[in-house]
Symmetry: C2
Subunit: 220 residues, 2 copies
């Protein structure tokens, strides 16, 4: 079995958001798909370890913001590589309330859903949500997971179903091996800019998770 | 609610295949996503009315062929707009057996799965499959659902969760309204070539479902 063949499944990149009782929280999800047309329902997959999972369980509601190709990548860093148990992720982004649910403004569409069914798996819950509200936010192209990997050069959070340790070992990256490589120790983003990493200004921050230059480590 | 906002979710285009006891059969699915990493599991959504659904239920197995941008569009016509109750869809395509399951050769990857859980909805069953085998078939780019709509100009089969009657009323199409438009009455493919439809040779066939020129109807 060549597990890399599973990367040929196509996905988008979404923020699933929810209330924890007191404040909004959420996480990055790539697994979301429409299941029925009338009424419109959507299934999402959320890792048991994600704070968002328990909040959906408790409140019976979730929202989805569809990220666009123009969405600031640091939003993926905040929502994909930090935990809502410790920080208020919505402190760092602009958001709207739609049907009382928090929606990230920097996306291209949103959906508000009410949980009507769920399926448990070994690590993830698949929630089935009836769509209560949906609309476009902008006319930007939706960000695909492939775009996130190929253009933004992002990695999968450890809780993503598509997470595999060696994920970024593509042919393209192997060709660049002559130069010392630096990766963000927080989110796994690999620096691929034209300026050698050592020459970047000291106030350089990871474009995905916003952490400082000092958290980057030389890749062996 | 603007239900069109749901089209901003990203999907691939897949053939889900199965044995019906005597012969291979299958259907087109756009809803497939990896749910867990270890063991690798994948969820697919299949309409109750699809012959494939009952066959998966009966045999507890399914395979997924990931279609590529180079896949012959007529495969989508055969598997998406005809029923396996009446014809042997695999008569018209080359296929391989992997773990005894039929795989369409004209794709870029395949997965063979064993059903380990399912979730029922009003019109579709979400099957959770443990991946038994997976590999690449070619190095072509996976076909996304967006590519199918925008480049191949294909429509959704009526059993697709994303099916909405007015689906192809995009701005782009509205601009072309001055010329008489012809659509395939079988699969809904809309002819958009440079030669006026009336001037096409009599042996022209629908590029999606392979039906003859005579089944095309003028769109009002």
């Amino acid at each position: 079995m060549n597990q890399k063949a599973l990367w040929n499944l196509s996905y988008g990149v979404y923020i699933v958001s929810v209330w924890d009782g007191e404040r909004p929280t959420g996480c990055v999800v790539n697994s979301a798909m429409q299941i029925t047309a009338e009424p419109a329902t959507v299934a999402i997959s959320v890792h048991h370890d994600n704070y968002t999972n328990g909040c959906i369980e408790k409140t019976g509601r979730f929202a989805i913001t569809v990220l666009s190709e123009k969405t600031e990548p640091s939003i993926i860093g905040t929502f994909g590589f930090q935990t809502g148990k410790e920080i208020n992720k919505f402190d760092s982004v602009k958001y709207d309330l739609k049907n009382d649910m928090p929606i990230v403004k920097d996306g291209c569409a949103y959906l508000v859903c009410e949980v009507i069914n769920k399926m448990e798996t070994s690590t993830h819950t698949v929630f089935l949500g009836k769509v209560l509200d949906a609309d476009f936010i902008s006319d930007e192209e939706p960000m695909t997971y492939s775009y996130y990997h190929k253009v933004i050069k992002g990695k999968s959070p450890k809780n993503a179903p598509t997470y595999i340790g060696v994920e970024n070992e593509t042919e393209e990256n192997k060709l660049k091996e002559k130069r010392a490589k630096y990766v963000c120790s927080i989110c796994g983003y690999e620096y691929t800019g034209d300026i050698p990493f050592e020459d970047l200004p000291e106030d350089y921050v990871c474009p995905v998770c916003g952490q400082p230059k000092s958290v980057f480590v030389k890749k062996e």
